[in-house]
């Protein structure tokens, strides 16, 4: 088996290659790469959005009232231990294939870090600040929005980033459940060959790092300057 090379992989990404496996038909190339990239991004964003919509309010609420620590932390620990492959496999076999089924499954994986980080982030907010806000006459909702959330942003965003990592990673094997992502290159070596394999790996890695970088920037933007002055 010819061992893949990095240069071969790069070529694969940008121009369709003649496949030496399926005989004749051209595979790979820029269009295909883009298509799979977009598919990957789509399912990631969808899953992340669902996870945030569910876990953020829940985490904020529980953190605010200070109850449910066992629950939040328990889910966080459990979520960390869920094997991604099992999730994809079970979705494919029990629920059905396609974006409609896979995205929620990925979201489930993302709920755990967001929930636990949001909870912890809110709990760590200085009680004196909350007390002062309450004393000033802020409603509970306002307190959450204007005091607790801003102060908890670094921890919360940490959770979102963690969720993004695990979702992007699991989305890589989503082709097993019928969703076309960059993992396709990796999982179907017989079609795409060694170069395709490596190309897929490189693209996934780059995508993950980019998303991580963007989220880090976002976190930086959202964190108030006052918080940033605090030395770690």
């Amino acid at each position: 088996m010819p061992l893949a090379s990095f240069s071969g992989a790069f070529e694969f990404i940008f121009s369709a290659q003649e496949s030496n496996v399926t005989g004749g038909k051209k595979v790979g190339g820029f269009d295909k790469s883009l298509e799979l990239l977009i598919g990957h991004i789509e399912v990631t964003i969808l899953a992340l959005a669902i996870a945030m919509i569910i876990a953020l309010p829940l985490g904020l609420y529980l953190g605010h009232i200070g109850k449910g620590e066992l629950f939040a932390v328990g889910i966080g620990n459990a979520g960390r231990a869920i094997p991604e492959l099992a999730v994809i496999a079970l979705v494919a076999t029990l629920i059905g294939i396609g974006m409609r089924n896979v995205a929620p499954a990925l979201a489930v994986l993302g709920i755990a870090p967001i929930l636990v980080n949001t909870y912890v982030g809110v709990r760590q907010v200085d009680p004196a600040a909350v007390d002062a806000a309450r004393g000033m006459g802020m409603s509970e909702m306002k307190i959450i929005r204007k005091v607790e959330l801003p102060l908890a942003i670094p921890t919360v965003m940490g959770g979102v980033r963690g969720a993004a990592i695990v979702i992007v990673a699991t989305a890589t094997i989503a082709p097993l459940a019928g969703v076309e992502t960059l993992g396709d290159f990796i999982l179907n070596r017989n079609i795409y060959g060694e170069n395709g394999l490596l190309a897929g790996a490189i693209l996934v890695a780059l995508l993950a790092l980019t998303i991580e970088g963007l989220l880090a920037l976002l976190q930086n933007r959202l964190t108030s300057d006052g918080l940033k002055l605090k030395t770690v």
């Binding site: 097993l176 990796i186 996934v204 890695a205 993950a208």
Partner: protein, 245 residues
């Protein structure tokens, strides 16, 4: 057509969606069945080898990861300016999705257990490094000051005062690292390294029972290690049980 057993032995290389032989999987016909107890009872022993492989890979990876991360943390503890770059470096390693990582190493280390261990160790670095640093930084300054003034050397302070007090955080990091390593190790089947992932796809892919059993074993493994670490921590830190009177 290769049998599922060959797949489990680690032969990777063909198409993922392979055909299954219906006579090896009796419950196959009833696809609506969630869990096939008969099959489970008959085939439980085939989980033996994958479980053992899984355990081995996890243990080695966590140990290697711990050794490296711990050494890095001790280094960074003494040389402050190393802390941010090391944090970033270990973070980057953690961000790269495991599958991509496995295959990125292909030209270098190829298929097999070595690649698996390298990648899995790399993933543990961030959490163990971060937690060790956290533990060390949380040691009260007054205790260190007193120790120094009493005549402890810097090395004695590290080993007799700082590290013992950092144990809870270090073990917390180990717990998380082990749990996620156990989970990610299900993917090493893709690079011919065996493990419980073998029971999760291949010919088993559309067979819920097999997947569920594998997942349950994984869950039990996580729980077992968790308990192990918790007990170790309890034993090593008797002072935390004491309550202020």
């Amino acid at each position: 057509m290769t049998s599922p057993l060959v797949v489990a032995a680690g032969e990777v290389g063909g198409d993922f969606f392979r055909e299954r032989s219906s006579d090896t999987l009796p419950c196959q016909a009833q696809e609506t069945h969630l869990f096939c107890w008969d099959w489970a009872k008959e085939n439980l022993d085939r989980y033996g080898t994958p479980t053992q492989q899984h355990l081995e890979i996890v243990l080695i990876s966590v140990l290697v990861g711990f050794a490296i991360a711990f050494a890095l943390a001790l280094l960074a503890h003494r040389t402050r300016w190393l802390q941010p770059p090391l944090l970033t470096a270990t973070g980057v390693l953690y961000t790269i999705p495991s599958i991509a990582f496995f295959f990125l190493l292909l030209p270098v280390t190829g298929f097999g257990r070595d690649t698996a261990i390298i990648v899995l160790s790399a993933y543990t670095l961030q959490i163990i490094y971060r937690n060790t640093m956290l533990g060390l930084n949380n040691v009260p300054d007054s205790a260190k000051d007193a120790a120094r003034g009493m005549g402890f050397t810097e090395r004695q302070i590290l080993w007799k005062v700082e590290l013992p007090l950092a144990i809870p955080e270090i073990i917390a990091g180990l717990r998380v690292a082990t749990a996620s390593t156990i989970a990610i190790a299900t993917l090493v089947v893709l690079i011919s390294a065996g493990g419980l992932g073998t029971e999760m796809y291949g010919s088993n892919f559309n067979f819920p029972t097999a997947i569920i059993i594998a997942a349950v074993i994984i869950g039990l493994m996580v729980l077992a290690f968790d308990l192990l670490f918790l007990t170790a921590q309890r034993l090593m830190t008797p002072w935390r049980k004491a309550r202020p009177t």
